[in-house]
Symmetry: C2
Subunit: 449 residues, 2 copies
């Protein structure tokens, strides 16, 4: 391997580059980055916009020079126009608009995802934003700094929508959250989503569920956001956070096959359908460890892992992606909401005889100050006793994230619910109980009628 | 099974009683408790003495009436004098001093442990205390309330000693900690113990290591504590926290075999060497899941699990203790210190080709406010790549406890270090990084020379 080209400089692309150089210090690695911000923590954008991260430069996982110190060539503000797998070359437009051709022995496509394009009336009005890139966040930040909006409508109750409802409230705006479906955050089941809606309302966010966005119209200097059933709100700023779709145009044009979810089809070595073309991150289908099937689950954690696998294999090593369990956590005001594995309806659809129990217990011994409630839903298979998934809601400092990770680690090896109860977990009264809440929830599942 | 007698009303005894009644609501269960405090959280005593738990009643896991509501008969302030396994009876002294005999079909011995008896000159002087029972804590509490000590010497740098150094400092005393060995807390390796010693000193505790206690002498109304090399400190209160030993007298006299560590020998069904006699908790040898051998590891978590197994088997079910990994956590001032699995020297003694790496990383993305350092030591087998153990030190609210539990869950199934890196763990910037610190430490181990 002499030349490795990586298209995309976010999590997957930079992980691939670093891993390739780590394993083969002789390989020539060029990362082509569409903007000027390689290896930025896109997950941090809401915290920049909330004011909690005062300087956006802090959001860099690594600086450009730190990346280059690893012997990686960065081509910033370069756009890859075409990929010719047979001739092993990409055509690239440089910042001055000039076109050139770059040869490769192997290429990693890490083009990421982009917000769902909107066709709704008014989606392109001034004051309407999406949030996916550093430049997107600069636009929102500038608008807030110069126009001093007092009210915002956030459209979409997924991770970005929830974090931005928190961020804009923290910044001092009044926020209305518009959610198409009957509850926010469909990655957890409705009882937990309702706890989250309560948290949003406690912090002054107006939550309108079952309210799909219909249109946005100008209203003097402001905007009027129309939902279903003629609900409307006048506002200064609209943030569309209605999900992303994989950026596959380059790969598709090159003849790379897509999978059932519309993302690039890869095997667990992150090889695409074309020789010497690897792909990783938000642009690819992600192998689900429990379903043993591809899904579309764009997450930073997964992108890092897939990039690492792609980078290793691209330089001749033999790495395999261990698969995703869909493990996720989000902080919204004082709560963390986490899940791993399958929700009950997902498990049933996959053929499991799934049953779920919900348990609410203190995060640590109630006698020690500061105990807060944890609500845990455990899903298991009634025929085999196998753990299928877990969802948790609790105070964000009540170790919710790492508690879901205990379940995630148990799922990784297909552990039974009863085995979770048998785990030797740590205990001291300020942080847990002799049976950790993770185990109390397992016991509740085991004894459910 | 008609009559089940349980000797001991702490974690193991009450767990056994509850589990027996849960599985067989017809069984007659009597728990004989030597004092008036069944099912108290002994781990909470330091927090009562620090003032953080104002009322000692709060320390009850369950009240006596909650236990009795489960159909369990409690005999408080009763002492079991003898156990006759052949005749299936115990002789009991009631609070009035009267002796009676109680028959059983099966018995669970859950007599716990007691502080190492001291033979040092002055160990029995007024103002010298141990801390193991509720009554012990009342003695210390009364002494502090009526005598207003200004200085205390804590002897022993294990869990109780460390927690009491914190508790007495929090209460307003000046504290000197005397540790026999070269560093405190021998359950973690010296580099982490040194971080802990720094935390103690930052909070005003004088830490004297390599200073075994030699004697305690009266000094007017005060005490003089003598260490090795003629070190001495004058003080008002001495707390001896030099470890516990299993309370086996009753079982030994009954002919129950002891194991190599001097605790009651049991199999994984918690059966002793005598038919119909079970044992559980701090009085028994604990099967170590990784060593596949008995150890002596008295911990509340283990006592609960063993009690549950004993209770189930005593009523004819078939339960097996899954084993201990030695998972532990302690909070000392602002730090939590945790470990699971084997230390390097323990792993080598067990025949593993053990190597350890130490990593210090932020607990979450540094750009999000409040990031604190986590120091993690990962021990793995160089020949097989198997994870052997992990130790962590960090801020107690930096999910140290549940991070060690991720390692504990990985150890439970004999996972490799590389598999830990492959785990699908949760991430959001306020609580983690795309590679969790647990995984960054695994990567450091994998890439160590």
């Amino acid at each position: 391997m002499a030349h490795l080209v990586i298209v995309g400089g976010s999590d997957a692309g930079i992980s691939a580059a670093l891993r390739a150089r780590e394993l083969d210090p002789t390989v020539d690695v060029t990362v082509i980055v569409a903007d000027a911000f390689p290896n930025y923590s896109i997950c941090g954008l809401p915290f920049y916009l909330s004011g909690e991260v005062p300087d956006w430069h802090q959001l860099a996982h690594r600086t450009a020079s730190e990346i280059e110190e690893q012997g990686i060539t960065l081509r910033l503000n370069h756009t890859v126009l075409t990929l010719d797998a047979e001739r092993h070359q990409v055509s690239v437009r440089d910042p001055d608009g000039a076109l050139r051709t770059l040869g490769f022995d192997r290429v990693v496509v890490a083009t990421g995802a982009a917000p769902q394009p909107s066709t709704l009336p008014g989606h392109d009005l001034p004051g309407v934003f999406v949030l996916h890139t550093m430049v997107d966040s600069f636009r929102v930040h500038d608008f807030c700094s110069t126009r001093h909006p007092e009210h915002a409508v956030v459209v979409g109750g997924g991770y970005i929508g929830l974090e931005m409802a928190d961020a804009l409230t923290t910044r001092g705006l009044h926020v209305t959250l518009l959610q198409r479906g009957p509850s926010v955050l469909h990655t957890v089941e409705p009882p937990l989503a309702h706890l989250l809606e309560g948290e949003l309302r406690r912090h002054g966010v107006e939550v309108l569920t079952s309210t799909p966005l219909a249109a946005i119209t100008p209203r003097g200097p402001r905007l009027r956001v129309w939902g279903a059933a003629d609900v409307w709100r006048d506002t200064d700023l609209v943030l569309l956070a209605t999900g992303v779709r994989p950026s596959t145009a380059l790969a598709q044009a090159a003849g790379v096959a897509l999978g059932p979810h519309g993302a690039i089809q890869v095997n667990r070595r992150m090889e695409t359908s074309l020789p010497d073309v690897y792909a990783a991150g938000d642009c690819v289908e992600t192998w689900h460890r429990m379903l043993d099937a591809p899904t579309y689950l764009p997450l930073g954690t997964t992108a890092h892992k897939q990039g690492r696998v792609a980078g290793a294999n691209a330089v001749g090593h033999d790495a395999t992606f261990a698969g995703s369990l869909g493990t996720q956590v989000v902080k919204v005001f004082d709560l963390a909401i986490a899940r791993t594995g399958l929700l009950e309806h997902e498990a049933r659809a996959a053929g499991f005889t799934a049953a779920t129990t919900e348990t609410t217990v203190w995060d640590h011994k109630a006698y020690y100050p500061g105990a807060t409630p944890l609500t845990i839903r455990v899903t298991g298979d009634m025929q085999t006793g196998r753990l299928l998934g877990a969802q948790l809601v609790g105070h964000w400092q009540a170790e919710v994230a790492k508690r879901v990770d205990v379940y995630a680690t148990a799922l990784f090896h297909g552990m039974g619910v009863e085995e979770v109860n048998d785990l030797d977990l740590s205990y001291t009264p300020p942080v847990s109980s002799p049976w950790d809440p993770v185990q109390m929830a397992a016991q509740a599942w085991m004894t459910a009628p």
